[in-house]
Structure formats: C-alpha cells, structure tokens
C-alpha cells in the first residue's frame, strides 16, 4: 500500500492508464495513510472517505473504457478555502461552522472534470491569514519534517500548511492551495515540496473564499515540478463568472519541462540580500545561481529598488480588502450565530467569537486604514507603492531579464508555538518578505526545493516570471530540481 502513495501524479497516471493499478486501490492507499497519520499531522480537517471511493470507482469505469481526463483517478487534497459542494467549506474558521456550500468552486470543478478524486479538505490558517498554520480553528498542522536529532514539532508554513504537510507526508498525490502573500510558496519551501502561484487571473477565484481579492490566486502544491505542471493545467481556466480571470488558452505546462535554459537571462535582485539573513539561505541562493549558470543561463545582477516597501504596503492592502471581504460573515444567513440583545449585539458577539485573534487583528488594521482621514495616508499610498513595485519588475523584464531567482523564505521551518513569532506579529509577517512582492505585482512565482539547511530542514528557491510565463518557470524550476534532487522527510508518524 505504501508503495502506491510513493507514486508521483505522473507515475500514477501512467500506471492507471496501463491498468496496472486502479484508482480505488490508489485512493484506498491514501485514505489509510491519512487515517493513520492525521492524528499526528492534523493536515486534514475533513476526510471524505465515501466520496473519494465513489469518485475513484467512477474513474476506474472510465479508465476501463480507455477514457478519462488529464487527472483521471488521481487522489487530491483540497484546501478548505475552496467551495466543495455539500462538503465542509469553512476556511478553517469557527464563523463558518457547519457551512456546506451548494456550489463547487471553478478550480475544483475543473479538477473533477479532469477526473481527479477528492480525499478531503485540508487544514489552513483561518481565512488564509497566517504563515505557520497556527491560526486555524482546527488547530496547528505539524510539518512532517523534523530537525536532525530533534522531536520538536515544526510548523509547515502557511497559510496552505495542510496542503504542504499532506503532500510532503504522502497523504495525497497533490493538493490545491492559494497564495495571497506567499501562502503556497512559503509552505512548499518549509516542506520540501513544489508550489506555484500563477499569474493573477490565471485561475478563477469563483467559489474560493476571498481573503484579499486583488492578491488571491490559486495554485498547486505537488511533490515535483512535473506534478505541479500537470495540476496547474487542470486548475487554470477562463471563467465568465470571475471578471478578473483572463480569457487566454491554458498551455500544456508539462511540455515545457526538459527545455533548455541556455541563453536565458536570470536576474539576481540585490535588494533580496537582507541584513541578518542566515548563511544557509545565502549559500542556497549561490548554489541555485551556480546550477543555472552551469545549465547555460546568463546571470545578471538587477535592482528592484522598492522591494523594502512591499511588506508594509502588503499589510495595508491585504487587510483593507479582507476587512471588507469578511463583512459578510455576520451571523445573519449562514455559519455561526451568537444571539445578542439586538442586531448590533448579535453582530459583535458572533464576530468576536467566530474570528480568531489574527483575523480580528487584520480586520481591525484594514478597517483603520480605510477610515476617513487615514485612507490617503495608508491605502492610497500603499497602492502607489504597489504600482512602483510592479514597475520595478517591468523595468527588469524590459532590460531582457527572463526570470528572477531569489530565496523563497528567510529561514527554514520553525517550531510550533515559537515564542518570538507569537509575541510579535511583525516577525511572523517577515516570513513573506521574499514572496509578497510577487502578489503585489500579480506575477507568477514558483518555490522549488533546493537543499537542506544545517538542521537538516528543507529550503526552497523562488523563481519569478513575466506575466503568464508559467512555462518559463516550470522549465527553469525543473533544471534546479534536476540538479538539487528531491527531498522526502523520514517517516516518524
């Protein structure tokens, strides 16, 4: 059984098509892996055993007839942010208690249309707000990775911590995730998995619970670059129900793998060399540069001068949008309601009890920066910064840079309950320092595992591409993956 969960999506697909294995077998292997591991890892908040087996059986019937889609019979985990019809959809928040939508998000519908099988819903930071998956109403997720000679539980990163942990621990073949400031790439880097945030507008946001609408973008977390390419091809689409979704055909991303990076210009932004950055991170970055240079790419030093303003601007724009997006959770129509003396009291009690501390903090920040008298100083200024950040990237690409290489995170995974992070939210926010710029500019970014630090924990590199050049990212990430190898945690759970 364990052998089946070792298969990548590409391998499993091949074996399913050749009828060497069935989807029911594969699905059952994952379900029992989940059942034995989830108590320790807490990656899933809902396992849909029956639905998974039903879907798998239907896939087997198709496969038997030689039919089936791009992901026929492949068992996936779904982040709790995606609406799944009739199934737990709560963005891991108390305020959406018992919410089961009567609709299916476009991204998950695309996956089911291509034959994928749903194993269940994955844990995440509440409303995708967090970088450690500790803000979930359903408790923290544990990273399957541990430091050498340590039993300390580490965070898988966030907000897509359940997705990253489940993929890394082989509790699903691949997982959906979302990224507003780094929520795909940071957990991927912390767990030795591959995560891509596509260009804003590539995946439909319809049916995905909104955090910050102008930044949110869905993408996959997978065990290798090829699997990420296979999954993104199915997740991405056009969608008339999301006007920010682009009307462009989805390329066959997998076909980009194996292409040469010879002659490509790789930009190395000096502003990403932060004070106090661990040596391991700097070493990893240099290693990445060396690999790409060896593969024939040209390395070019570039400047993205407004990088240092990205994080503060992000923590204005994202909470501002969130404070408005989360206003609908008011106890009137669905989810949690705490009765009160009158309507205002009901709102206050419901929202005080329904939202966790980090979500409440961001709603308050967002409400504040949009208030009369502060709007220009905060929100408008942050939007201007956003324009400048975008221009930095445009200038770099106009100079002929094809792809930009940076570290994915400023450190490896830290401990659950880390005191420093818990005492100062800004320290937690710094996790996104290398990733938020990409969301602010709407660009695609991929995190690919590139090595282990001295503690034996995975570290990732980030590649940033031109708008809609996901193919370029897959191609380049594949070169790094080939050089770095793949990283799997030792099973202790």
């Amino acid at each position: 059984m364990t052998e089946l969960t070792q298969l990548t999506i590409a391998e499993a697909r091949q074996k399913l098509q050749s009828k060497e294995i069935t989807s029911v077998e594969l699905t059952d292997a994952y379900l029992s892996a989940i059942d034995s591991a989830n108590e320790q890892l807490n990656a899933y908040v809902k396992v849909t055993h029956d639905k998974a087996r039903e879907m798998a059986a239907a896939s087997d019937a198709k496969l038997a007839k030689g039919e089936g889609g791009n992901l026929e019979g492949i068992p996936l985990g779904i982040k709790d942010l995606f609406a799944t019809e009739g199934v737990h959809t709560q963005a891991c928040s108390h305020i959406l208690d018992k919410f089961e939508p009567k609709y299916e998000s476009t991204v998950t519908k695309n996956l089911w249309d291509d034959g994928a099988v749903m194993l269940g819903k994955l844990n995440m930071d509440e409303f995708a707000m967090g970088s450690s998956n500790e803000t979930s109403h359903y408790g923290a997720v544990t990273n399957p990775w541990r430091a050498k000679n340590s039993n300390e539980s580490l965070v898988p990163g966030g907000s897509s911590g359940g997705s990253a942990s489940a993929v890394s621990a082989h509790l699903c073949a691949g997982a959906t995730a979302t990224d507003t400031g780094g929520s795909i790439r940071q957990p991927a880097a912390f767990t030795g998995t591959v995560g891509i945030k596509p260009t804003y507008g590539r995946c439909s946001r319809w049916g995905t619970v909104a955090f910050a609408s102008s930044l949110d973008q869905a993408g996959p977390i997978a065990r290798d670059v090829r699997d990420a390419a296979i999954m993104l091809r199915s997740m991405a689409s056009t969608d008339a129900k999301d006007t920010t979704c682009v009307d462009m055909p989805v390329p066959d991303y997998e076909a980009a793998l194996g292409g040469s990076v010879k002659g490509m210009k790789i930009g190395i932004p000096k502003e990403y060399r932060m004070d106090g950055m661990p040596d391991d991170i700097e070493k990893l970055w240099q290693q990445g540069i060396a690999w790409l240079k060896d593969a024939g790419a040209e390395i070019v030093d570039i400047s993205l001068p407004h990088t240092k303003y990205a994080l503060p601007a992000y923590y204005i724009v994202a909470p501002a949008e969130a404070s408005s997006n989360l206003a609908r959770y008011d106890g009137v129509r669905y989810g949690l309601r705490v009765e009160g003396k009158n309507i205002e009291d009901m709102y206050e009690q419901t929202r005080a009890e329904g939202f966790g501390p980090e979500v409440r903090r961001r709603i308050m920040i967002g409400t504040y920066v949009l208030s009369a008298g502060y709007y220009d100083a905060y929100y408008i200024k942050a939007q201007k910064v956003r324009t400048l950040i975008k221009r930095d990237f445009e200038n770099a690409f106009a100079q002929g840079i094809d792809t930009i290489l940076t570290p994915a995170t400023p450190s490896s995974a830290f401990a659950i309950g880390d005191k420093e992070m818990a005492s100062d939210p800004v320290k937690m926010y710094l996790n996104d320092i290398f990733t938020v710029t990409v969301n602010m500019a709407g660009l695609p970014g991929i995190a690919v595992p590139a090595g282990l630090d001295e503690k034996g924990l995975p570290l990732g590199l980030q590649l940033i591409g031109k708008p809609f050049d996901e193919e370029g990212l897959f191609k380049t990430a594949h070169v790094i993956e080939q050089a770095a190898g793949r990283f799997t945690p030792d099973k202790w759970w």
Binding site: F82, A83, T89, A91, L96, F99, P101, K102, Y103, S105, R205, W206, G207, T208, V209, A210, A212, S213, S214, A240, K241, D242, T243, T244, A320, E321, S323, S324, L326, A327, R328, D330, V332, R333, Y334, I343, E344, Y347, T367, L370, S371, A372, Y375, Y379
Partner: protein, 502 residues
C-alpha cells in the same frame, strides 16, 4: 465624499421667498434620485428583477453573498445608464470605477454596497424644468444642473412586523441596479423640486431606462434642504431620506424649510442630519445626526475591473435615442403650430404624446390637441382611467376629427359622437350614418328653416337690422330647429343675407 463646491446658478426671486418673522427666506434644494434601472437581471448577478415575486425568490448565490461569490457586471444596466446620461445631456465617462461602500445591515448581505464614488459613469448634465401654468397660462422654464449619475446596487428589505421579536429579510431587491441621479442645489421652491422630479421621470420613461413607478419603489428621492437669507451664504442642509412620492417631496420641503427658519429665527442653528418624512403627520423627524454618520470606508472594489467602453459604443447609443420631451415639444410648437401650453401638456407622458401623434397624422394638429387635452383627457380623468386604458382609440378619435374637418358633422355633434364612442365603442363613421348625425348642408332645407324663423319673429328682425350682432339669435334658433345638424357657417351666411346685415 468631499462635496463638490456649491455654485449658485440662480438669481434670487421674491416670488419664491418664504416670509419669516425676521424677513424673507430662500429655500435651497438639491435632489438625489434613486431610479431602478429597467433590466431583466440584477446589476451583478443573473437573478431576475421581476416585481411582486414571492419573498426571496429572486436571489442568486451572489445576492445572498455566499462565500467566494463574485460580481459580474450586467451590460444591459451599463447601456441603460449611458442612455440615461445621454438623455440628460450629460458627459459620459468612458472609464468609471466601482467602489465598495461598507456598512453592516441585515438587508445588505455582502456588508458593502457596490456603488460608484469618485469616478461615476455619467458626469454633469442638465434638465429643463417647467413650473406652471400660472394664471396667464404661462410656464416658467428653468435649467437645473445634474451633478452626476452613478450605478449602484439596491439593498434588500427588512421586515419587522411578522414576528414579535425577530425581523425577517427579503433579498429580492438585493443587488437590483439603481441609477443615483444627483442634481446640483439649483432648486428654490417645492414646486421646482416637484417639477424636477416630474420631468426627470418623464425623461426616464421616454428613454425606457426606469419605469418611474414610485409606488413600487422604482423611484425614490433623497431631498437636501437648506434655507438662507435671499442671495446670502448657503445654510446647513438636512437630508430627508427616501421620499416615495412627488407630492410628499413637496410637503417635506415646505415643512422642513419652515422648521429650519423657525429654528434660526429663534437664535438656533441647524444640525446637519438625516431626517425622515412622515406622510401621516406631514412632518420630518431626525433619523441620525452628523456625529452618528457612518464612515463608509469607500475603496475600489477589487473584484471588478474599471468599467471601460469606447466612444463608438456611446455614439451608437446616442443614434438610437428616442425623441425626448423637450425636442418633441419644440417640434409640436414649430411644425404643428401648437401653443406652448398644449404642447407642454401633450409631452408630459410619452403615451399621451404617442396618442396625439397618431391622431394628428394627416389631420389638423391644433384640433387634435384640443380634442385630446379637453375631451379625451377630461373624460379619462372622470372615468379614473389612464391613457393606456382609453376606450377611444387614436383611430376612432382620428375618424371623429376627420369628419369635423370635412364637415360631415358639426363640432357640437362631434361631442355627442365622442361620448357615444367613449361609452359604447364602435366605428364613428358608421354611428354617424346609422344615427343620422350627419350635418345638414342642403341649403334648401336650411333656407326653409331660416325663412320660417324670420317670418315668425318680425320684432327680432327689426332689432337685428339695427344691431347686426343680434343676428346670432337667429342662427341659434335655426340650429335648434334643425336639431344641431345644420352647418353653422351655412346658417350664419343665410341669416345675414336674408336680414341684409353684414
């Protein structure tokens, strides 16, 4: 919103002043009209806008603000807003932006209303209003400025009277497209405000962009009222929310202006506040003060791209715009020779104007206008019917008028005929034929009647010879004798000839 700078476009006119204890006062009025866009579907969801459906029948996932739902603009609503802007002679903004106006209320499922704040779809325009007619039958035309028109979502409805402790919410209206049409503070009397609303409603109905039914809530007005010493500085205004009839708008202004004047004359100051009009008591009362005003935290809706369209799109809509009341009025006056008074009345409702044009086609315009204004509208009014329900069709009325014009019947008989057709229906020509209502033009028959009356009234003959105006008495007698069917011109001519008067 930082209010646009107030510009006074009007010259103070004593006839509009209100007398107070300390002298005359001038009322300053601006109106914000919410007009429901005529469209099949809501502004950002595919749900139906049909009126009168069961509660919560017209509700999509977007309207109920389910998690992950996104708005998609309904292009028909955009088209209607642009057409309205063109009808208001306004600047059309080819790029506009949707913003979120954030506040909590149970009938606002999203927790924000999607509206347009800084960059509306339509900018400045104008409406010509007509106040009158006065005792001389004159209308006073005044140009009122339009500040802007923007698109926004309507809210749902809270229902408080169906449960002792709970309220219910009906989301059928939630997300329906509204045009908020904001005037400049250019009106100076309740009559002007009423004329503005009437004219705006007429224009919207001509355009077919809003049905203007205030009873059904398709059109509501927020009325901004302040008072000042004539020509002085603008005073502090109060906003009277959601007034739902033109009459109530007039009453609310009259009450509010006098309330403000009384406060100021007593040495008080006006608090800027939102007020409600109570139609039962005919008064306004405070709803919330400026201190309690919401901070709506407007910001551009990140779910929607800026709304952009080409000039060609606007030009195409302009080309297909129907003739609007002002142009129609000018044409009726200039081409058909109607009086301004008659033309003004005919164009107030497009249905009346259309009725008139059908009747007037190929006939005497003035005659058609007289018949519609004096006879048809009078009869409809008495019967409590709208022109759409008129028992007399334009064809029937046209037939009656044609018979007057070709002297088949007299004007007097025509009135009788009209009454028959109004009450019983039928083909007017046939009725005239069957009931022997044709005018007698046979001079022999008329001559005999004239001769007989002259012979029987020698005294009158003498008087008439001395005073030719008295010849009319003979005409009357002859008409009486012929049952009104004699051609009055022919009778007149014969009487005068026989009496030898000119």
């Amino acid at each position: 919103m930082t209010a646009p700078e107030l510009v006074d476009t009007r010259t103070p006119d004593a006839k509009r002043f209100i007398a107070g204890a300390t002298g005359d006062w001038e009322i300053i009025i601006g109106l914000e009209v919410h007009a429901q866009v005529t469209s099949e579907a809501k502004l950002f969801s595919g749900a139906s806008t049909e009126f009168g459906r069961a509660q919560n029948d017209n509700v999509s996932l977007v309207d109920a603000a389910m998690p992950g739902m996104l708005p998609v603009i309904n292009e028909e609503c955009v088209r209607q807003a642009v057409r309205t802007g063109l009808g208001l002679k306004a600047k059309i903004n080819n790029r506009s932006i949707f913003d979120r106006k954030n506040y909590f209320y149970p009938d606002l499922p999203q927790g924000y209303q999607i509206s347009q704040f800084k960059d509306p779809i339509v900018g400045e325009g104008t409406i010509i209003i007509s106040v009158g007619p006065d005792k001389q039958g004159q209308f006073e035309d005044t140009e009122i400025g339009i500040e802007r028109l923007h698109l926004e979502q309507d809210a749902g409805k809270s229902i408080h009277d169906q449960h002792p402790t709970l309220s219910y919410v009906d989301l059928n209206r939630s997300g329906v497209a509204l045009m908020e049409i904001v005037s400049k503070p250019d009106m100076r009397s309740a009559d002007e405000a009423k004329a503005y609303l009437t004219k705006l409603r007429t224009i919207l109905r001509y355009l077919g962009t809003c049905d203007g039914n205030m009873d059904e809530g398709s059109m509501r007005a927020d009325v901004n009222v302040s008072v000042r010493k004539p020509g002085g500085e603008f005073g502090t205004r109060c906003e009277i929310k959601n007034v739902n009839s033109i009459r109530f708008v007039g009453q609310a202004i009259e009450y509010e202006a006098r309330r403000q004047i009384a406060i100021i004359e007593d040495g008080g100051v006006i608090d800027q506040e939102t007020r409600l009009f109570d139609p039962n008591k005919g008064e306004t009362r405070s709803m919330r003060s400026k201190e309690d005003a919401h901070d709506y935290r407007y910001f551009p809706d990140p779910d929607l791209l800026p709304l952009e369209f080409s000039q060609e799109y606007v030009d195409d809509l302009a080309k297909d715009l129907p003739e609007l009341p002002d142009e129609k009025k000018d044409r009726l006056v200039n081409d058909l020779g109607l009086s301004v008074y008659d033309a003004s009345i005919l164009v107030t409702e497009q249905t009346i104007a259309n009725f008139f044009e059908k009747v007037a086609e190929g006939r005497d315009g003035k005659l058609a206008a007289n018949w519609i204004i004096n006879d048809l509208l009078g009869a409809l009014n008495k019967a409590g019917k709208e022109i759409e329900e008129s028992p007399v069709s334009p064809e029937q009325l046209g037939a009656i008028i044609s018979m007057i014009q070709d002297e088949t019947i007299s004007g007097k008989i025509a009135k009788e005929l009209f009454e028959i057709v109004f009450n019983e229906g039928g083909d007017p020509a046939k009725i005239v034929e069957e009931r022997g209502m044709k005018q007698v033009t046979d001079t022999g028959a008329i001559e005999a009647a004239v001769d007989e009356i002259i012979a029987n009234n020698p005294e009158q003959v003498e008087k008439a010879k001395a005073k030719p105006q008295l010849a009319g008495w003979f005409v009357g007698q002859v008409m009486k004798a012929t049952g009104g069917k004699a051609n009055p011109q022919a009778v007149q001519k014969l009487v005068r000839a026989k009496l030898g008067v000119e």
